[in-house]
């Protein structure tokens, strides 16, 4: 049992000036913790805003996942389906023809012909159409920097400038018998969106750590 040293009868029983000073200090501590708590809350709200940005992307992409294969879909750069596939073929043929003419002129006809990226039906064109002025997702802002929301290649905790950004990745199914069922890689500008693709949307939180928003077919 603990023994307690409170034997002498004190003269003043109410709070002394030292007690009052301590109480003031304690109130100060409480106010400081409240302010810091508010700061943490505001930082947390920025992550919430980033999540809302990601959810806005998810909403648009899931809402468009079927309609973009129908005729007259806008923005046209994000459309898919047979009509777009035909346009892609046409562009490829034009590029091939131009490459052959160039090879003929250069006298390198025997070498294999390489063509540049096909813009039609690519993710890069779609992204531009979505985020350019007047695009459906153009008004989203990075909650941490206050600037227009940008796509990042990777959430990097070592680089806090990626906080609030978002990542778009594609999941590609691997052949049967592979060690992993799918391979995930960043959705590149020249990736084709003519057919349905499985996409993962991730945002970078306060510490630039990735937070997965959703995985869906686009």
């Amino acid at each position: 049992m603990e023994q307690h040293a409170q034997t002498s009868v004190p003269k003043k029983l109410g709070p002394t000036w030292v007690d009052i000073l301590f109480l003031i200090f304690l109130v100060g501590v409480l106010v400081s913790v409240t302010l810091l708590g508010r700061l943490a809350y505001e930082e947390g709200m920025k992550t919430e805003s980033s999540k809302e940005n990601g959810e806005a992307w998810v909403k648009w992409m899931t809402d468009s996942s079927d309609s973009r294969f129908k005729e007259g879909f806008q923005p046209a750069a994000c459309a898919g389906g047979p009509a777009v596939a035909g346009a892609v073929d046409k562009e490829r043929k034009e590029l091939m023809r131009a490459a052959r003419i160039a090879a003929k002129k250069a006298g390198t006809e025997d070498e294999p012909i390489t063509i540049g990226d096909i813009a039609t039906g690519s993710w890069g064109e779609c992204f531009k159409a979505l985020t350019q002025k007047g695009g459906p997702l153009s008004n989203l802002k990075n909650a941490f920097s206050g600037e227009t929301l940008t796509l990042v290649a990777k959430c990097d905790p070592g680089d806090l400038s990626t906080a609030g950004g978002f990542m778009l990745e594609k999941n590609v199914t691997t052949p049967l018998g592979s060690a992993v069922p799918t391979v995930t890689s960043t959705l590149a500008d020249n990736d084709s969106i003519v057919d349905k693709i499985n996409v993962r949307v991730t945002i970078c939180d306060k510490g630039a750590y990735p937070t997965k928003i959703a995985e869906f077919d686009f």
């Binding site: 040293a5 409170q6 002394t16 501590v29 409480l30 809350y41 070592g158 510490g207």
Partner: protein, 555 residues
């Protein structure tokens, strides 16, 4: 008439006489605050927990992602809560005529209905019933349900009242100390303070654990931030209160050094580490990646060690058994290093990628010795395999030593604690019987050591018996009597009295004749005999004798 002290074990339950009228019996059994060991404490505890549960339910109802899919469960919990609170209200209403507070008044039931606590109880349940008749806005209903928290006042107000009585002649700081540190002045209010801290420790630790679950963190991110900020606020205030009032503790009285000493205590360091990650993360998160600090918030769990003796017992056991454990650790170390070196020697050539160096072999040796056997490193050479067999067999014994040591030391420590309690009882019984204060101390200790009432009674009887034996000095061995001069004097008096009794009862003349004729006793002893009997009255065996002065030579 003074009340007899009563010893109560950890399992003490009061026996209410069955001959009482039912209402009176039920009140005493369930709600009488003046009867210790009845079910009031249990009722208070469970109602308190239900109130806290209601507050959390109310909080989560504001999170659509949690509330919407679990609407039914929330509703069921609300019904269960209202049923319990209604049952409590009606029971108290029914028992109002026998309640100490109201029974002597006119219209006790009516008086009860309009008492503050009854109004609070009523307000806690009425919104639920109202919504069945009136269309009440859900937000208003939720706000009204907040009133359930007021039910806690049924426990808090009496605790404050008792605290004020117990601390009326004490300073502000002493009162604060009584709330925060365990003392005889704290009472129920101190227990409530402890429960409040424990609640926040549990809540914040659960929050930290669930924060690591991505799907939960995604939904409750902002709620976790709020919970953490409140928990840090509570723990910071507690930390500074402990530092400020510690000077009332024995050994910490000095204004500065006492507080520094307190700050250096393990429990204070734990308290400090429990709040530090929050401040570091808020101030420095722009400069460094401090997410790893979040795991350290789990250290808040260590705050609970203040409220349990288990870790103190573990500390004592390890400190006591340290030489043996160190010896067994040394043997283990020897074995690991030697076998790892041999493993490297035999296996390196066969598997240079796996047994690349001795540190890698040490990993293999420990995994094998501990019988874990992950299988990522396996010997392939005959010598390596032979050594693995020996190592695995030795490991069973070597690793069992510290476990057996700890297990034995734990039960031994428990025995020591009980012996201490017995000794305490023994000391307390020096006055012949236990005082009320002594009984209180023993009851608290029995509760702490989980000693049942039956066992406590047995210890008490044993201590009492030993104390009685102690009073009978003659029953003790002579060296024990000689060790205490007071006992030696008492024993000497007893011996003299016995000699006197002997001389009164025997034939003195015949005694002397025999003693002298056959040299059975020395001259000195005979002289002493004569001195003793010189002051004795005449006995029927020795008429005409007595009051004879002893011969000078003998004296």
């Amino acid at each position: 008439m003074t009340e007899e002290p009563q010893l109560r074990g950890a399992d003490y339950k009061v026996e209410i006489p069955s001959g009482l009228p039912f209402k009176e019996w039920l009140y005493k059994w369930l709600l009488d605050p003046e009867i210790e060991g009845n079910h009031l404490e249990t009722v208070d505890k469970w109602v308190g927990l239900l109130i806290v549960g209601n507050m959390f339910a109310l909080l989560f109802e504001h999170v659509p992602a949690v509330f919407e899919p679990n609407k039914l469960w929330f509703h069921l919990f609300d019904i269960v809560s209202v049923v319990v609170f209604t049952a409590e209200y009606l029971t108290r209403l029914y028992l109002a005529p026998v309640d100490h507070e109201f029974k002597d008044k006119r219209f006790p039931t009516l008086r009860y209905i309009f008492s503050p606590f009854a109004i609070i109880d009523f307000l806690a349940i009425i919104p639920f019933y109202l919504q069945s008749f009136i269309a009440v806005d859900l937000r208003i209903l939720r706000a009204l349900r907040l009133l359930r928290i007021l039910k806690l006042f049924r426990v808090i107000i009496p605790a404050i009242h008792d605290f004020r009585i117990a601390n009326q002649d004490r300073t502000f700081r002493q009162k604060m100390h009584a709330i925060i540190y365990p003392s005889e002045y704290g009472g129920k209010l101190h227990e409530l303070f402890d429960s409040f801290i424990v609640l926040w420790v549990v809540v914040s630790v659960i929050a930290v654990i669930f924060e690591s679950v991505q799907s939960i963190h995604y939904i409750l991110n902002i709620e976790f931030v709020i919970v953490d900020a409140i928990a840090v606020g509570v723990f910071t205030v507690e930390y500074f209160l402990r530092l400020y009032t510690c000077v009332e503790e024995p050994g910490f009285q000095h204004a500065i050094m006492g507080r520094i000493k307190q700050a250096k205590q393990t429990s204070s360091i734990i308290d400090f580490l429990a709040i530090l990650p929050f401040f570091l993360e808020v101030f420095l998160h722009h400069l460094f990646d401090l997410r790893f600090l979040r795991v350290f918030r789990l250290m808040r769990l260590l705050k609970l060690t203040r409220y349990t003796e288990a870790t103190a017992t573990l500390g004592k056991v390890i400190a006591r058994e340290w030489p043996f454990m160190a010896a067994s650790g040394f043997i283990m170390l020897l074995l690991v290093v030697l076998t790892a070196s041999l493993g490297y020697l035999f296996e390196h050539e066969a598997q240079p990628d796996k047994f690349e160096n001795i540190p890698q072999s040490i990993y293999w040796a420990v995994i094998t010795l501990a019988s874990v056997g992950y299988g990522d490193l396996t010997p392939v050479t005959p010598m390596g395999r032979a050594m693995t067999i020996i190592l695995a067999l030795m490991g069973i014994g070597i690793f069992a030593i510290p476990a057996a040591l700890l297990s034995a030391a734990f039960s031994d420590q428990l025995r020591i604690d009980r012996e201490k309690l017995l000794n305490r009882l023994y000391e307390m019984l020096s006055a012949g019987k236990l005082s009320m204060e002594d009984a209180d101390i023993i009851n608290r200790e029995a509760k702490r050591l989980h000693i049942s009432e039956e066992e406590l009674q047995r210890l008490y009887e044993r201590a009492k018996k030993e104390r009685e034996m102690m009073d009978d000095i003659s029953a003790l061995p002579i060296h024990k009597i000689a060790a205490v001069p007071e006992h030696a004097v008492e024993h000497y008096k007893t011996l003299i009295a016995e000699i006197k009794e002997l001389s009164l009862m025997t034939d003195r003349a015949r005694f002397e004749e025999l003693a002298i004729s056959k040299d059975r006793i020395t001259q000195t002893d005979l002289a002493l005999w004569r001195v003793i009997q010189s002051n004795l009255p005449l006995s029927k065996n020795n008429p005409g004798e007595g009051n004879t002065p002893p011969p000078q030579s003998a004296v």
